[in-house]
């Protein structure tokens, strides 16, 4: 159990006649962590995941999953993996329960207690045909099947899509428990918010290249937030410019718009408190913006 959960060496994928989808990926995911794989759409996240599952074949390089070669020992590796596809397509004519039964038989292994527990936890309606289920309920079926055999490595492609915030929380909880159990979660997402709540470490991928791997808290410290402060009366916005890491984006009368990383928040609030505040909103910048800020020189071959 000392091998890493995922280890790729120069993993590359070029689709026929197209640009490089993945370029020399060197990635190491340790056992027992929730690893967030973050990048904008089309960055190569799904390509990486599909390589790990041997759904597609690498142009060069290799991937070890739980110490097994994803290509030559793929069946053995997948025995210990659970997968939630980014675009989950189920058999619409079955009920959720029948679909899970069928997948259990396909795997040849079942843990009925764990499955029942997961179904209850996600409040899954087992006897309704899948075609009548909402996107969120289908996603629940996908989550249950990915975890119902206690996988050593769960690979989830955008797991929160279609889920309401309450369920997103439940998913995060499940991921935390899985990691606490010594098992591993590989989580892809284009949302920094999702990843930073669920993951321990984050790999950032852009244009098929891994640009950074960092602990979540470091990333959060560096990631920009947009702060909008509405004052009761017009103020001199310039006073915020002197603060460390803070950029003044706009001053409109009594409204000041700033961009700043999290560690600067305290100083901003203290500075603003000198005046009467009507409203204060702070929200994360979107991923593209953060990328531009953090990795200004895109290294990808766009």
């Amino acid at each position: 159990m000392t091998t890493p959960a995922v280890e790729t060496l120069g993993l590359s994928k070029t689709y026929q006649g197209q640009t490089q989808a993945l370029v020399g990926l060197d990635l190491r995911v340790e056992r027992g962590e929730v690893f967030g794989f973050l990048g904008p759409n089309g960055a190569g996240k799904s390509t990486t995941i599909r390589l790990l599952l041997d759904l597609i074949h690498a142009t060069s390089g290799s991937a070890l999953v739980l110490g097994l070669d994803s290509r030559r020992q793929g069946v053995e590796a997948r025995r210990h993996m659970g997968y939630l596809p980014g675009d989950l397509r189920l058999n619409d004519r079955m009920t959720a329960g029948e679909q899970l039964d069928s997948l259990e038989r396909l795997r040849g292994r079942a843990d009925d207690r764990l499955r029942a527990e997961l179904c209850e936890r996600f409040d899954l309606e087992l006897d309704r045909p899948i075609r009548h289920l909402s996107k969120g309920n289908r996603q629940k079926v996908g989550l249950v099947q990915a975890f119902m055999h206690r996988p050593e490595l769960a690979v989830l492609d955008e797991p929160s899509s279609g889920l309401d915030p309450l369920l997103q929380n439940q998913v995060r909880e499940l991921l935390r428990e899985t990691a606490a159990d010594g098992r591993t979660v590989f989580l892809s997402s284009h949302s920094l918010d999702e990843v930073q709540h669920a993951a321990d470490r984050v790999g950032i991928i852009r244009s098929g290249r891994l640009v950074d791997v960092d602990a979540v808290e470091h990333l959060r410290e560096r990631a920009l937030r947009h702060v909008t402060i509405v004052f009761a009366e017009p103020v001199d916005g310039k006073r915020f410019e002197g603060l460390d890491g803070v950029r003044v984006d706009a001053i409109e009368d009594s409204v000041v718009r700033l961009s700043a990383p999290e560690p600067a928040m305290d100083a901003i609030v203290k500075e603003a408190a000198a005046h009467r505040i009507v409203d204060l909103v702070s929200q994360p910048a979107d991923l593209e913006e953060i990328f531009l800020e953090l990795y200004e020189e895109p290294s990808g071959a766009d």
């Binding site: 599909r50 599952l53 596809p85 675009d87 397509r89 058999n91 004519r93 795997r107 099947q145």
Partner: protein, 266 residues
């Protein structure tokens, strides 16, 4: 375990399969029930027998004409309709089983499970075989019954062999469609190529007697290989074996080639 894919393949189509069986029983009933009136009207029989050779060859009218039960059933059912029914079912199922499922994005999850792709293809091949055999068996039982009811006086042994040869043809084109879909991610190809091959082979098998230049190609026609007018002439056992061997090759090639390619996302 991959056997689940075979099980699912049959169960998911169970309603359609019942429909095909009822259809084949109904169509053979309709055709058989007309036979007594044919038998009782020599004029009509003679009229048909005076058709030009080209038409007769194409409609499978041979030997004893259509005044005997065997000749009538050969011409009305085994020359076109029954092979057509079995092939439409087989090619449709074959193309849907892999290429169709891949197109719909449903293989993404299944192939991420611990099974080899080639086993998935073989399991789906087994499901297609079951479908083809069930429909042919339904056709056999129905015709055996109608033969007794309407006095067609068919030899049960020959009827069984004839339906068996249809099953072999179904298996060939069904597995060809499955194998193609496994080798190349295209439902259009998986449907179109076997259908085109079948149509060409059917025409060659039906018309080679009329066009000398077609004669050397008759060996390439599975329809010719299994033998035509099976109720009057019997089935060519070796031909059926050759067709079955070709079916196995198509399935085997598909199951090997599928390992080499990327699975497509919809």
């Amino acid at each position: 375990m991959p056997t689940e894919l075979a099980r699912r393949g049959v169960l998911d189509h169970r309603r359609a399969l019942i429909g095909w069986c009822l259809g084949i029983a109904g169509y053979t009933l309709l055709t058989s029930s007309i036979f007594p009136s044919f038998k009782g009207s020599p004029d009509l029989t003679q009229l048909v027998e005076r058709y030009p050779d080209a038409l007769k060859a194409l409609f499978g009218i041979s030997g004893g004409g259509i005044s005997t039960g065997a000749g009538y059933t050969d011409a009305e059912l085994f020359s076109l309709m029954l092979p057509l029914i079995v092939l439409v079912l087989a090619i449709g199922s074959g193309a849907r089983a892999f290429a169709g499922e891949e197109d719909a994005g449903r293989l993404e999850l299944l192939l991420a499970y611990p099974l080899r792709r080639r086993d998935a293809v073989l399991a789906k091949g087994a499901a297609i075989a079951v479908e083809v055999v069930v429909v042919c068996l339904a056709g056999f039982l129905a015709l055996a019954l109608w033969s007794a009811v309407f006095g067609l006086d068919l030899s049960i042994g020959r009827l069984a062999a004839a339906m068996g040869s249809l099953a072999a043809l179904g298996l060939l084109y069904g597995w060809l469609a499955l194998g193609l879909g496994a080798a190349v991610p295209s439902k259009v190809l998986a449907l179109g190529v076997p259908a085109a091959f079948a149509a060409a082979a059917y025409l060659v098998g039906g018309l080679y007697t009329l066009a000398d230049w077609l004669k050397p190609f008759r060996f390439l026609s599975p329809f010719w290989l299994v033998g035509q007018s099976p109720l009057q002439n019997g089935v060519d056992g070796w031909g059926v074996l050759v067709v079955l061997a070709a079916a196995v090759v198509a399935l085997g090639a598909g199951s090997l080639l599928v390992e080499r390619r990327d699975l497509e996302t919809p």
